[in-house]
Point group: D3
Chain length 341, copies 6
C-alpha cells in the first residue's frame, strides 16, 4: 500500500478509524466517508501553523480509543453507523502551493469517484479550491452547491503575487466553473474586508453572503433556513466548507486571521448538524485550525466536533431515510421512544 | 485545632473567611456555610490538575482582602449576611481514590450533621460521590435531590478497572440509594457519550437529563424551570453539583475534558443564582477546575463566582423569607426601593 | 515636530494612518479624528500591563498596511471616509499618575479644541478622567454625556491612599462637574462591588447603571435604546468609554480585573456601532487591554475592532446626514442598492 | 494480541518502532529493548500531568516517521542497530497507586525475564519502585546497581499517609532489598530537602549522593567517573533512572517539582551517554515529564533524547564489544576513520 | 496590630514563617530576619508585572507548609536556625512612586534600627533606593557596601521625566551619599547600555562593574572573589541586591527587561551563597520578578531560592562563627562528619 | 521609492534605523550595512512561524527608540559607528519557495554589489541559499567562506519532493559552486541526523563540522579558533549564518526544530562577537526564529542581540583597524583607558 501516512507526527487516524490509501479503492471498499489530511499552510496571508491541523483535529478526544461515540444530539454513532476510513495526509510541501493544489485535487477526485464522501482536514483555506474542484470533477461542473461558514469571503483575486492562497479559493472555483456563484452561500462574514471591487464581483456572480449583522438582526435560524434552500435548489450535492474562524476567537483562538464578533460554538455546531441532516452532503472540509495559537486544544476539539457532528447529521439523515423517522431537537435525551424507535 | 490546612500552597481561605476545623464544630459555631477543599485529581480519565482547584478558586479575586463583596445581581453580601467559614482541605492523596472517598464523605457528613451547608471545592468530579453521600447520610437516603450542571452524565460503571472515578459518581450515588434517580436533574449534557447501555441505565432510574440541543430548542429558562420543579418535588433539600465544563471551553478552558457547545458563563451564573434562590440548597460542590490548563485564571474566576452567586442566592432567599420581599431581576441597580427595602 | 512617538516599541500608528503632533494643529489640519495613546498602568488596582495596550491595539490587524478596510456591517471605510491621524502617545510615566492626568487632559483638550474627535487608546481606566475632562473643557462642564461600557462602576473614592486610579475616574468627573451624573449611563456592570455607600453616591447623582441581570431579563436592545435616549437628552456631545472588561473574560482575557458573566464580543460591537451611528460622539476611549494576559491577541483584536466599528458608525452617520439614507442592519451584504446608493 | 495500547491519545509507538505485547514474548522475539509507558501521576506530591509523559516523549520528533536517526555523537543508529519494540502502556489508573505498582512490576519483570532491556516512560517517579523491583526480580535482589539522576533523593518514608509516592520509591527499593544502598548513586541533588532524619537513613544505607555544590566544586566528569565506578562494582547490571528535573527548570520546565540550579541539557545528555556506553544497562526509566507545564515541547524533546542517547550508548557499547573499537568524543564528525571503521 | 498584609491576593507569608508588623518591634522580638514585600511596578521602563513578585516569591514551594527546609548545599535550615518573620507588604500604589519611596524607606529603616536583616521582595528595582537608603539611615551614610547582581547598571539620571525609576536607584543612592561608589560592585552587566555619559559618571564614582565578557574571560570565581574583597573593605555591613535579570532569560523569563547572555541559575545561587556566607549581610532585596511573563513559575522559584540560599549562607556563617567550623563545598552530602559536627 | 515595507505588521525598521529601498542605491548612500527581512516559512519541514521573525527581531528592544545602544562588551555603538539602513522585507509568499529564492537572491546581490553588508533576518533557513548565493554573485563563486552555527547540517538533497527547503540550502550552495565545501565550517551540530549518505557527501566536499560532543571535549574556544582559521584561509570575505537553534531550546524555545544539548546564549554571543571582530564579514543572516513558539520574546531578544553583537564586532574591527588598538575581553568595563583611547 502506498499510503503516505501523516506528514507530521506519528501515523494516527481520525478517532482511530481504519487506515486506507486513497489511491487504492480496495483499501476502503464499502466506505461511506474517507478522511484525508491536507497539512498545508503555505497559502496563509498571516499566521501559519495550520499544517498541524490534521494531526490535532484527529487526536482531539478525551475518550479511549475504539469506544462508542454516540451523538447525544442526534442519537446515532457516526463512526459505527457509517463506514469511515482515514487515508492519511496528502504530501503537502507548504513551499509549493501549486503542486499541493494539483495533488490534493487528484486525491479528492479519486475519493469522490469511488463514491465516498471525502472529509478533508486542513490546512489553510487554500485547500477549498482542490477540495471542491475535486468533488466537482466527479459530479460535474456547477453541480455541487457550496455552504461556506467563514468570517471572510475568500474571494480575492491576486495576493502576494499569486492566484493561489487562502484568501482566494472561492474565486478560483467560481471562475473555473467548478462551482456556481448562485449556489454559493456564505455565513458568518464580518469585519473590514473584502474591498468594494471584490464585493462587486461577488454580487455579480450571485453569491449569497450572510454578514453577522444581518444574522443578528434576522436570527440565525431564519438565515440558515434560507441559505440551505438556496443550496438545495437544483444541485446534485452540497459541499460543506467550514473555516473555524467563522466562530468568534473566544471559541477558536487557534486560527490565523481571527475576527471578533463571530458565532458561538453552539451556533456553529447546530448549523453544521442541520447541514448534514438536511442536505445531500457529498464532501466537506474543516480548515484554518492553527494549533500553535490554540489554548488547551479548545480549537482542535471544536473542529473535531464539527466533523463528528456533520457525520452524525449524515448518519441520521440516512437512518431516517431508511425508517421514515424524523429527528426532533426538542425530544428529551432519555425519552423512551428514541431507544424504542 | 487539628485543621489540616491546604494541601498545596499556603493556608489560605475562600475570600479570607475565618478558618475552622470540620472535626471540631466549636470552631464553626453559628456557621451557615463551611467551605472545604478536596484537592484530588486521581479520578480523572484524561487531563489532571484539579488538585490545584481549591487553591485557585479560593484566591480568584481582584479585590482587597476583607472588603465588602455585595452581589450586584441580588443585592446581598453573602460573605457577611451568612456566617461562612473555611475548613481547609481534606487530605486527598490522588493515588488512593478509595481512601479519599471515605475521608471526604466523613468530613462532609460531619458538616451536614452540624447543620451547615457544606460547599466543597474540587477536585475532579469523583468527589460528588462522597459529597452527596455525606449530605444524604445526614438528611436520609434519597431525601436530597440533585441538580447537576455538566457536559457529561458521569453515570459510567467501571472505568480503568475501578468503580471510583470522575465519570461514575452519579451511578454510585443512585445505586447506593443515597440519591433518587427521579430527583436527579442534569443540565448541559452534550457530545459523544455516554454509550447506549449507560443511557438506558439512566432512563431506567428516571434521571431527567437536558441535553444542549433540547435546551437550545426549548430555551434555558423553560428547561431550568422544569428541572427545578422536579428537584423541589418532595425532597428535604437539594444538592447543587456544578462541573465547570458545563460551560463552553471558551469560558472554562481550564478543565480536563472540555466539550464544545456549552453554556456561556452568564447562563451558568444565572442558573446557579436561581437554584440558590429558589431551592432549599443543603450542599454544593464546584468541580473540574484544572488551573494548569487555564488562561489568565478565567476558569478559576468563574468557579469562584459560581460559589459566590449560589451563596448570594441562598442569602437572598433567607432575607426574603424573613421580610417577605421578592427579588426582581428587572429592577435597576440603583433603584431607591432596594436600599430603602 | 514635537511628536513624542510611541512610548514602547517602534513608532507605529493605528492601521498606519498618518502621524501628527497633538500640540501642532497644523499637522492634523482637516482631521475628523485623532488617535492618541495613553500607555499608563500605574492606576490599576490588580494586574498591570495596559501600558502595552496602545501598541497592541494599533497593530492588531492581519491585513496589509494601507489597504481598504471597509466595514461589512456599515458599508463605509472609516479610515478613508474620515480623515484620521495618529498623534502617538502622551508620555505616561506609570509611577506618576498625577502628572499623567495633567498631561493627558491637556493633550485631549487641545484635540477637542481643534474640532476633532479624540480617540484615546489606554492604558488603564484612570485615563477616563483626563479624557472626558479634556473634552468637557472644550464643550463646557456638564455638556458632554457619557456612555460607559464596563463590568465595574469605577466610582470609588479613595483607593490605595489616592484619589486617582482606575477604580475612581467617574467619581472625579462627576464631582468636578465635568460630567453630569444624570447623563451618565453605564452598561455591563456585574459582580461583587462597589460597596453600598458607593452605590448610594451613584444613585444620588442620578447615574443610570444597567447591571447584567437587568440586561439579561429585559434584553440588551431595549436597555441600550433607553440608555442612548438618556445620553442624547440635551447634551452637546457624547463621550464613549469602553472598558474591554465589559466583555466576558472568554472574549477579552487580556485585561486586569476580569469579571465572568459579561457581554459577548458581538453584543459589544453591535452596541458600539449603534452609539457611533445614533449619537453625536465627540470623544472615545478604549481601555484596560492588558496584552501580557491576552491569548493569541484576541483582546487586542477586539479593542481594535471596537475603535473601527465606532469610527464606522460615525462615518455612516455623517454619510447618511449628507444623503438622507438610513442604515438597515437587515440588508443583505451584496444587495445592489447599497453599491448603487 | 492483548496489547493495551496507549492510555491517552492514539496508539503510537516510540519513534514508530514496531508494536508488541509485553505479555506475549512472541510479539517481541529478538528484541534488545522494549519501551513501556507508565502514564501515572497519582503519586506526585505537587503538580500532576506526567500521565501525558509517555505520549509526548514518544512523539517528540521533528523527523519523518521511519527514517534514519543516527546519533551524531556516537555514530550509531540505535533504533536500527538495536531491535526496539514498544509495548504500549500499562493500564495505570492514577487513583490506585497500589494496583499500578503491582501491575507495572509484573510487566517489567516479564520483559526483563525475556532478556530485553525495559525502557519505561513515566509517569511520576513512583514508578521507579516497580521498574527497578521488576528488573531485580529477574536478576536477583541487590544484583542491580542504580544510577539515579534527580534533583531529589526520593527516599522519603510516608507522605500523604502512604508508603507509595514519587518521593519514596528509592526507600522502598532499598528497604525491600531489591536494590543495595551501597550500589545506589545519585547525581543532581539540591535544594531544601530531604529532612535530616532521611539524610541519616540514606547515609546509613551507604547511598552515595552527589549534591550540585559538590559537583560544581569538583567537576561533573570527576564525580560521574567516581559514581559509575561505584555502580559497576560487583553488580550484574545497572538500572538508569532519570528524573528530568535533574536538569535545571530552564531546560525542563515541564515537570512537577522544579528546583533551580540543575544540570544543563548537555550535561545530562553527556552523562546519560556515558552510562549507556560504560555500564551494562539492564533497564531504564525517564520520569517526571509533565507536558501541561512544558513550553514548546522542550522538556519532551529532552526526555526523548535522553532515551535515544542512552540507547545509542548501549548500541555503541555492543558494537565496540564486537569489533574492539573505542568511542572517542574528540573525533571530528566527518573524520574518515569513522565511516571506514 | 496594624500589619498591612499582602497587597494582592490572600495574606500569606514567605514559606509560612510567622507574621509581624514592621511598625511594632514587639511583633518580631528576637528576629534575625524580617521579610517585607514591595509590590510596586510603577517605576519600570518596559514590561510591568513585578507587583505580583512578593506573592509569587513567597509561595514558590512544592513542599508542605511548615516542614523542614534544610539547605543541602550548606547543611543548615535557615528558616529554623534563624528567627525569620514576614511583615507583609508596604502599601505601594504603583501610580505614586514618590510616596512608595518614602514609605518603604521608612519601613526598612525601622527594621534595620530594630537590629534585624530586612529582606525586601520586589517589585521593580526602583525599590533599591529606599531599601539601601533605609539600611544606611541606620548604619550611617556610606557605611554599607553594596553587592549588586544585574544585567543593567541602574545608574541612569532622569527617565520619563522622573528621578525615580527602576533604571536609576543606584545613582540616587550614590548621589545622596547613602552608598559609596567605591564600595559598590556590580556583576552581570551586559548588553547595549547605559550610554557613555552614564558610564563616565560610574567610573568617576569608583564603581566596580563586572561585565559578562570580563567574567567569561577571567572566570566567575576570580571576579567574585575580587568583588567581595572590595565590598568587605572597611564597611560595616553589606547590602545584597539581586535583580533576577542577572540570570539569562532562559532561567528567568519572568522579568521586565530580559537581556540574553546572563548567568545560569547555578552561577547565581553559588554567588549568592558565597555572599551570605563570606560577608556581613545587613540587608537584601530580590527584584524584577514579573510573574505575568514567567513560565511554570520557574522565575519565582529561582527568586525564592535566591532568598533561601542567602539566608542559608547567613545561618551557616553564624553557625561557623559559633563553633569554628568551616563550610567545604566539596564535602559529600552524606559524609558522616557533617552530621556529627 | 519602491520599498516593499514589512510584509506583516506595521512598517518598522531594525532599532528604528532609517528606511531604504534595496532596489535604489541612492536611498542607502554611504551605508555600511543594510538590513533586509525575509518573512518566509514555506520551506520548513516541521513547525512554521518564522515569517514573523523579521518583525519580532526588529522590535525586540526595551530601550526607547533612537537612543544610544553601546555594546558593553566591545565599547562601540554599532548603530552609530556604522551607517545602518533597513530595506524592509522582500515579498516572500510562503507558498512559492522558488519565487522567493529568486527574488531574495536578486535583492541580496544588489546590496552586495552596492558595497554594503547585507544582514538578512529570516525566515527559515531556506533563505541561506539566496543569501549566500547573492553575496557570492558579487564576490565570485567560491570566494566567500561560510561560518555556520546550527544544530543541523542543512545539507539534505530532496525533501518533500523539493530541492528547496530549510534542510537543504548548504547543499545547493556547494553544488552550485557558490560556496566551497572546504571553506564551510559548521558549529553546534548534534542530535540524530543527517543520515550516513549525507554525512558522506559532506565529508567528500571537505566541510568541517564541529559536533557538540567534540566541542564539549575540546572546548569551544579551541574549536572556534580552528574554525575561524579555516574560514579565513584565502577567502575574500565571510558569510555568517546563524540558525538560532544552534542554542539549546532553553535559550531559544521559539524555533521550529529544537534539538536539546546546544550552546548557551553566552556561548553563541561570544562566538558571534569573535566572528565579527576577527573575520572580514561580508554578509550575515539570522534564521529560524519562530515567534509563535517563543516565550516572553526571549528568542527574539537573543536573535536581535546576535545581530547587534555581530555588527558591534564589525564596528570594533574597523575602529581598531583605524587606530591600531586591540579589543581585550578582560578589560574592566569602567577602565579609564577605554574612554581615553
Amino acid at each position: 500500500m502506498a499510503r503516505y501516512g501523516t506528514q507530521f507526527g506519528p501515523d494516527i487516524t481520525f478517532h482511530e478509524v481504519p487506515r486506507c490509501d486513497w489511491a487504492d479503492p480496495g483499501t476502503f471498499a464499502g466506505a461511506d466517508v474517507v478522511v484525508l489530511g491536507a497539512p498545508f499552510d503555505g497559502g496563509t496571508s498571516y499566521r501559519a501553523g495550520t499544517r498541524f491541523g490534521p494531526q490535532h483535529i484527529r487526536q482531539a478526544s478525551y475518550s479511549r480509543a475504539g469506544g462508542a461515540r454516540p451523538s447525544l444530539a442526534l442519537r446515532v454513532d457516526a463512526l459505527r453507523d457509517l463506514a469511515v476510513f482515514d487515508a492519511g495526509d496528502v504530501e503537502a510541501f507548504s513551499g509549493d502551493a501549486e503542486r499541493m493544489v494539483h495533488d490534493l485535487r487528484h486525491a479528492v477526485h479519486a475519493l469522490a469517484a469511488a463514491g465516498v464522501v471525502p472529509v478533508i482536514l486542513g490546512g489553510d483555506h487554500t485547500i477549498a479550491w482542490p477540495d471542491i474542484a475535486g468533488v466537482a470533477q466527479h459530479y460535474g461542473q456547477g453541480r455541487v452547491a457550496v455552504v461556506h461558514f467563514d468570517a471572510h469571503a475568500d474571494t480575492g483575486d491576486v495576493e502576494f503575487g499569486s492566484l493561489i492562497g487562502h484568501g482566494q479559493p472561492m474565486r478560483r472555483l467560481i471562475e473555473s466553473g467548478a462551482a456556481r456563484g448562485d449556489r454559493f452561500v456564505q455565513l458568518g462574514l464580518r469585519g473590514y474586508g473584502p474591498p468594494p471591487d471584490t464585493l462587486e464581483w461577488m454580487a455579480r456572480h450571485g453569491i449569497r453572503a450572510y454578514e453577522m449583522t444581518e444574522i443578528g438582526a434576522r436570527g440565525l435560524d431564519e438565515c440558515l433556513g434560507e441559505a440551505l434552500a438556496i443550496a438545495a435548489d437544483g444541485c446534485d450535492g452540497v459541499f460543506l466548507s467550514v473555516d473555524i474562524d467563522a466562530c468568534d476567537p473566544a471559541f477558536a483562538p487557534g486560527t490565523g486571521t481571527p475576527e471578533p464578533g463571530g458565532f458561538t460554538s453552539r451556533e456553529l455546531l447546530d448549523a453544521v448538524r442541520r447541514v448534514g441532516y438536511e442536505l445531500p452532503v457529498v464532501g466537506m472540509d474543516v480548515v484554518e485550525v492553527a494549533p500553535p495559537y490554540d489554548h488547551a486544544e479548545i480549537t482542535s476539539f471544536l473542529a473535531n466536533r464539527v466533523v463528528l457532528e456533520a457525520l452524525s447529521g449524515i448518519a441520521r439523515r440516512r437512518a431516517d431515510a431508511r425508517d421514515g423517522s424524523r429527528w426532533d431537537p426538542r425530544q428529551p435525551l432519555l425519552d423512551d421512544r428514541r431507544r424504542d424507535g
